[in-house]
Amino acid sequence: MKINKNLQPISISIIVFVGILFITTINACAPTKAIAAKSGVQLWSENCQRCHNTPSPSTFSPEIWETVGMHMQTRALITENERDKIVDFLKSAR
C-alpha cells in the first residue's frame, strides 16, 4: 500500500479523525434500561449457549473465571458489562 509523500499528512489526519469518530460512536452506544438491568445469570444463560453449552460455575476457581471471561469476550464479542456480570455470577454461584 504505497502512499504519495504529499498525501501522508492528509492520510494521517483522516486516520486520526476516523479513529476519534470511531471511539466517540462506540462510547455513544447504550443499552435500554431493561437490557442494562439484566442479571449475570440471565446473561450467562442467553449468551454462552450461542456457541456452546452453558458452563457450570463449579468448573473453575474465581481467579480462572476472570481469565476465561476475558478470553470469551474476545471470542463471543460480548460487551464488557456483560462479561463482568457473567463472571461475577460464575464466581458467586460456585
Binding site: 500500500m1 504505497k2 471511539i23 462506540i26 462510547n27 452506544c29 447504550a30 443499552p31 435500554t32 431493561a34 437490557i35 442494562a36 442467553e46 449468551n47 449457549q49 450461542r50 456457541c51 456452546h52 453449552n53 452453558t54 458452563p55 457450570s56 468448573t59 474465581p62 481467579e63 480462572i64 476472570e66 481469565t67 476465561v68 476475558m70 478470553h71 469476550q73 474476545t74 471470542r75 463471543a76 464479542l77 460480548i78 460487551t79 464488557e80 458489562n81 456483560e82
Partner: protein
Amino acid sequence: MKFKIQNSSYGFLLLFLLGTIIQLRAQDQKSTVDSSLLERINYLEQQMNYHKSGDDHFMVVGLANFGFSSNKTTNTLNGISTTSKKSNLGDIDQFEFSPMFLWRHEKKYLMEFEPTFSQNGLGVSWADISYFAAPNVIIRAGYLVLPFGTYSKKQAAGWINKFATDPIGIADMPTSDYGVEVEGGLPLGDMKMNYDLALSNGLQLGNDGTVTSGYLVDNNTNKTITGRLGLLPFSNSSLEIGVSGMFGKVGTEGTSFHNVNGNMYAFDFNYVKTYVPFLVNFKSQYNIEDISNADYTTADEWATNYTFKNHSTSSFTQCSIRPTGIQALHDFELAARYSTYNTPSNSTWGSDQSAFAIGLNYWLSWRSVIKFTYEKYNGNSTGSEVLNAFTGITKSNTLYLQFSIQL
C-alpha cells in the same frame, strides 16, 4: 447481740469476696476467649492472604478429539468404478490435541497461545496478545484467527462442533494470519452489534490458483483487510446475523501474478433458542471467494498455459435439537447438516461437492461429548480434461465415533 453482728459482718465479707473472685474469673475467661478468637481471625486472614489472587494469572486449558472412522469410497472415471474401504483409529480427519495457554496481565492484557497436534503434525492455531483498550474495544496483534464468517473462530472446536467433521469447504478457507485486529461488542438499545476488523499479511496465490494464508513474510507490499459486522436484533441475543469481507492483493510481487487480487465475502446466521422442552440450534454460513483472472502454467514437462474463472463458494446449514427439558433424554442431541463446496471448473482442482451429515450426540458433561456421525459425500470433478485434471465422480459414506472434550 454483739456476737451476732460480728457473724453477719463476716458473712457479708465472705459473700463479697466470693463475688469478686467469680467476677475476676469470668473476666479472665472472657479475655482468654477474646484472645483465642483474635488469634483465629488473624490466622484466617493470613490464610486468605496466602490464597488471594494476584494481579496476573496463568492457566492452561485446551481440547482433545479422538475417535474411529469407517469409510467406503467409490470413484467412477470413464465408466470404470473403483471402490476402497478404510477404517482408522484416531478418526484420521479430526484427531487433535490442543492445549491452550492463557496469560492474564492484570485486567488489560491477555496472551493466548494454542499449539495443535493433529494428523498434520505440530502446528499453531493462534498466538496473539490482546489489549483491552476501552470498555468495548479490544486491540490484538500476532498470529490471529481472521474475522471471516464465524465457523473458524467460534464453532470449529471439537467439543462445540455438533459433528465429528468440519463442513466441507468452510474449513478449507484461510483462517489464521499475522496481523493486527480491533474488535468489540456494543449495546444498541434493545439490540447488540459487534465488529471485528483485521489488517494482515494476507493470502498468497499458488501456481495453480489456490490461495493459502499464515505467512510471516508477505509476498507483496499490500496488506489484506478482513472485517466482520454482526447484529443481534433480539433482546435475548438468540439471533445473530453477520457479514464479512476480505480484500487484498494475493499475487507475489515481481511475478506475472503481481496484480492478482482476492475478494471474499461471507454471510453467517446463528439462532439458538429454547422451545420447551427442546433447545433448538440453527447455524449457517455461506462463503464466496473471487480471485481475479490470471494465466497459469502447468508444472509438468509440457508447461501448458491455461486460465479459468477463479470463483469458489462453500456453505453449510445445520440444525440440532436437544431435549433439555426431558429428564430421561436431556443428555442426547440430534443434529443434521448439509454442506457444499464448489471450486473453479477448468482448473486443476475444480469440483462440485456436497455432503450430508446426520449425528447423534451424548453429552457426558457441558464440555465433553460422544458423537456418532454418519456422512454421505458426493463429488463431481469439474477439473480440466485438457490438463488431465478430471477425476470423475466420487461418492463416499463414512461413519464416525468420536470423543471430544474441553479440558
